[in-house]
């Protein structure tokens, strides 16, 4: 275990997103953290009656070689903020751009409904590519866990 002073982490700390979670599963080297509730619905007033956001416990897997954690421990899950934005970029922005540009181009040449369908279908190869790149994403989107230590 390496104890470190947050002071030296200022640079990265500014861009961190943190969420409290509970360790719900530990299997060799992979710790699964369940985020408490739906972290984003916390502030929402409709949460008590909102049934639509059903995926309300989020489970995140974190690779952990240190074997430091115990089941049911409350920890803090950390993700760099730009990674979050990057995720939005890959998950939403790129397919959006792909879709729109296909639509614009095809609608010059084809009938409206064909253009529409083509630009919907173009998403399939896009997601296929994402699927192929799955492992390289795995390397980038790495969470880490911080343990609270009362000093």
């Amino acid at each position: 275990m390496q104890k470190f002073d947050l002071n030296s982490e200022i640079k990265s700390n500014r861009n961190l997103i943190k969420h409290r979670g509970i360790i719900s599963k530990i299997t060799n080297g992979v710790v699964t953290v369940s985020l408490l509730g739906n972290v984003h619905c916390e502030a929402c007033n409709a949460k008590s009656s909102c049934g639509i956001s059903e995926s309300d416990v989020k489970e995140i897997e974190v690779y952990d070689a240190s074997q430091l954690y115990e089941l049911n421990e409350t920890v803090e899950l950390v993700l760099q903020k730009d990674l979050g934005l990057k995720a939005v970029f890959w998950a939403y922005l790129v397919p959006f751009i792909v879709m729109i540009s296909t639509l614009i181009i095809t609608s010059i040449f084809f009938k409206e409904w064909i253009a529409g369908l083509v630009s919907l279908l173009i998403l399939i190869p896009y997601y296929l590519i994402l699927h192929i790149l799955k492992n390289s994403f795995k390397k980038v989107y790495n969470f880490s866990i911080l343990k609270y230590h009362q000093a």
Partner: protein, 337 residues
């Protein structure tokens, strides 16, 4: 020697003698020339509107603090006084007094005290008050007494349009600038303040004098006024060069429609403007651009008020993206993987 009266407090133990109150009263002083001019031009009406605005602003602040928020009364700090004056400066001098009072209530009650009072408001109170009135009572808010006809008599039905109003109207009717030029006051008249308009925006000369006072006293810095007026001049200048028959010259834009009042006194409001010089420049460019867009393409002939309010909303964003340069570059530290 008894030590029981020894004070212990943390450093620093000395303090500069500039206080918020002094800053506020400097602004009041700076507004005096424009006020005098407005009394000269509009007479009793200007005096009445201004005093009603001031009194009601102070009164509302007092009542809200005393009975609603139950906090300490701070009407002496001068900020409500400024709000009152500037609100009045943005109103026609013959506005029914109850509207002036409503405007003060909106400025103080909604735009300022609802956010917690001095320093916490996001939007410029006086402008919120003015825009509220403008939207609610467009007729009264856009009828001005004609200049110099009645500088002794209060209340007057004769209305004259602002130079920008004349232009907007004229262009809409398909007239060209050459046709319109005869209806417009000369630039010298505008500089001195002999045109129609809100009571405080008349004389560019008086306002610039006040602005210079603020600059000298270091209450404001040059960044906002200069950038804002510069942006306006540059943008309107381009359009003017392209088609002088459809667009008026930049000087005209700067001298009219409260541009100078806005640039020196309203956009510079400490509370609602950015806190770094870089941020101020961005803010002022935004105001300039929006003002010109509204004036040239929008429905309103003026537009400074709206532009300032819109950019007020962006101030938090500007503040967090244009932070002061931190001393020392960070050492490359191990980043959490």
């Amino acid at each position: 020697m008894s030590t029981s009266s020894i004070i212990v407090s943390a450093s620093p133990h000395i303090h500069a003698d500039r206080t918020s109150k002094k800053i506020m009263y400097d602004v009041v002083i700076a507004l005096i020339p424009a006020f005098l001019i407005s009394i000269y031009i509009f007479g009793f009406g200007a005096l009445i509107v201004t005093s009603v605005a001031i009194i009601s602003c102070l009164l509302f602040e007092y009542l809200i603090q005393k009975y609603l928020l139950k906090t300490t009364i701070s009407i002496g700090d001068g900020s409500a006084l400024i709000t009152g004056i500037l609100l009045a400066f943005n109103l026609p001098s013959n506005l029914p007094l109850w509207m002036v009072i409503v405007g003060s209530l909106v400025a103080i009650g909604i735009a300022k005290m609802s956010f917690g009072g001095l320093g916490f408001n996001i939007f410029n109170p006086a402008l919120v008050g003015r825009v509220f009135l403008l939207i609610s009572f467009p007729v009264q808010m856009t009828s001005w007494p004609t200049v110099l006809e009645n500088n002794t008599v209060f209340a007057d039905a004769v209305t004259g349009a602002t130079p920008l109003g004349i232009i907007k109207d004229g262009l809409m009717m398909g007239e060209t600038m050459t046709d319109l030029s005869s209806k417009l006051p000369s630039q010298m008249e505008m500089f001195l303040g002999m045109t129609g308009g809100s009571l405080g925006e008349m004389s560019a000369l008086a306002l610039i004098l006040g602005g210079l006072y603020l600059l000298i006293r270091k209450v404001i810095s040059w960044h906002i006024p200069v950038t804002m007026l510069g942006t306006m001049a540059a943008m309107t200048g381009i359009f003017w060069l392209i088609n002088p028959e459809q667009y008026v010259n930049p000087l005209f834009h700067i001298l009219t429609g409260g541009a100078i009042l806005g640039a020196f006194f309203m956009a510079t409001d400490l509370v609602t403007s950015p806190m770094t010089k870089k941020g101020m420049v961005v803010f002022a460019v935004g105001i300039g651009v929006i003002t010109v867009v509204i004036r040239l393409f929008g429905a309103y002939p003026e537009g400074v008020s709206f532009a300032i309010l819109i950019m007020n909303a962006f101030v938090p964003l500007i503040n967090s993206n244009f932070k002061p340069r931190r001393f020392g570059a960070p050492i490359k530290s191990k980043i959490i993987k």
